[in-house]
C-alpha cells in the first residue's frame, strides 16, 4: 500500500482507472473508522469486516460516476451506513447482547473482583438503556477515541449533534454509577 499523503481526489482518479495501489491507500486511510462504524451495525468483528469490504467494493464500482471534486470521505461513509442498515435489516437476529465477564485484574481479593464485576455490569446496563445514537456516539468518541468532528462525518451528522448525544450518554451513565454507589453505601 502506498503510504503517502496524496489527497483523496488524486487517489480517487487513479483508483477508478484501476490503480490497485491508489485504491489500497484509500482503504488503509479509512479502514479503522469504517470498521468502527460497521461494528455498530454488526454483532461480531467478522460481520463488521464483511460490511466494510462490501462498502469499499461498492464505492469502487461507483467511482466512475463519482464527482472527484467532492469530498470522498462523507460519500464513502454514506455508502457504508447504507450497507450496514441493509445488512441489519436482513439479519434481524443481530440484537444487542451484553454479557459482562470478569474484569482482568491483578487483585486476588475476591471482594475487589466482585466489586469490579459489579461496576462493569452497571455501566454496561447503563449503556444498554441509552438510545442507539447516544451509545454509538459515546462508544466512538469515549471508548474508541475518535473526535466529535470525525464521528460526525462517519455518521453523517453535524458535530454539535454528536456532542449532544455524547453529553446525554455521559449524564445517563453518571446517574447509573451514582445509583450504584448509593446502593453500595446503603
Amino acid at each position: 500500500m502506498r503510504q503517502d499523503n496524496a489527497p483523496d481526489r488524486e487517489l480517487v482518479v487513479e483508483a477508478r482507472a484501476g490503480n490497485r495501489e491508489a485504491f489500497g491507500t484509500l482503504v488503509v486511510r479509512y479502514l479503522r473508522p469504517a470498521l468502527a462504524v460497521a461494528w455498530e451495525f454488526a454483532p461480531t468483528r467478522d460481520d463488521a469486516e464483511d460490511l466494510v469490504q462490501d462498502a469499499f467494493h461498492r464505492a469502487l464500482r461507483a467511482l466512475p460516476s463519482f464527482d472527484e471534486t467532492r469530498p470522498f470521505r462523507p460519500w464513502f461513509f454514506t455508502i457504508l451506513r447504507n450497507v450496514g442498515r441493509n445488512a441489519a435489516e436482513r439479519h434481524a437476529r443481530w440484537t444487542s447482547v451484553a454479557i459482562p465477564d470478569e474484569l482482568p485484574s491483578d487483585s486476588a481479593d475476591p471482594e475487589d473482583l466482585a466489586h469490579r464485576a459489579h461496576l462493569r455490569e452497571s455501566i454496561d446496563r447503563g449503556l444498554d438503556i441509552l438510545s442507539a445514537m447516544q451509545r454509538t456516539c459515546f462508544r466512538l468518541c469515549d471508548i474508541e477515541g475518535f473526535d466529535s468532528t470525525e464521528v460526525a462525518e462517519m455518521l453523517g451528522m453535524n458535530a454539535a449533534t454528536v456532542r449532544t448525544h455524547r453529553h446525554r450518554a455521559r449524564t445517563t451513565l453518571r446517574d447509573a454509577l451514582r445509583h450504584l454507589n448509593e446502593e453500595k453505601g446503603a
Binding site: M1, A17, L35, P43, L63, L103, D124, L127, D128, A132
Partner: protein, 117 residues
Amino acid sequence: MSNELGRSQLEPRLPDDPSYWQHLAARIVDSAEPVLREHRNVQAWWYPLAKWSPAIGVAAAAAVVGAVIVGPPAAPPAPITFEQVLGPDDPVDQAVVERADISSISTILLVQSGGQE
C-alpha cells in the same frame, strides 16, 4: 447496536495490532481485483464524459424537442424569371406575354390594328 459475547461495552473493540489492519486492507484490495481490472479495461477518456453524461443527455433531449417545435426549415424561394421582373402585372397580360408562341388572339389584334410584319 451490539457487542460481542463476553466483552464489556466499555472496552475498545478496534484492534491495536498493525498487522491486523494490514491483513484486512490486503484482503479488501485483493478481493476488489476483478473490479479494478474492469476499470483498467475501460478507456480513460470515458470517465470525464461519464461524469457529464446526465448533462449531455438533457442537452440532447432539449435539442430534439427544439427541433420538433421549430419544424423543418422553409424551402428556398423559387428563382425569379426575367419575365416576372419586366412583364406586366395583369395575369391575362402575363399569359399572353410569357407564352413562347404567339397566341391567335394576339395575331388578330395585330391585324386589326393594321400592324404588319
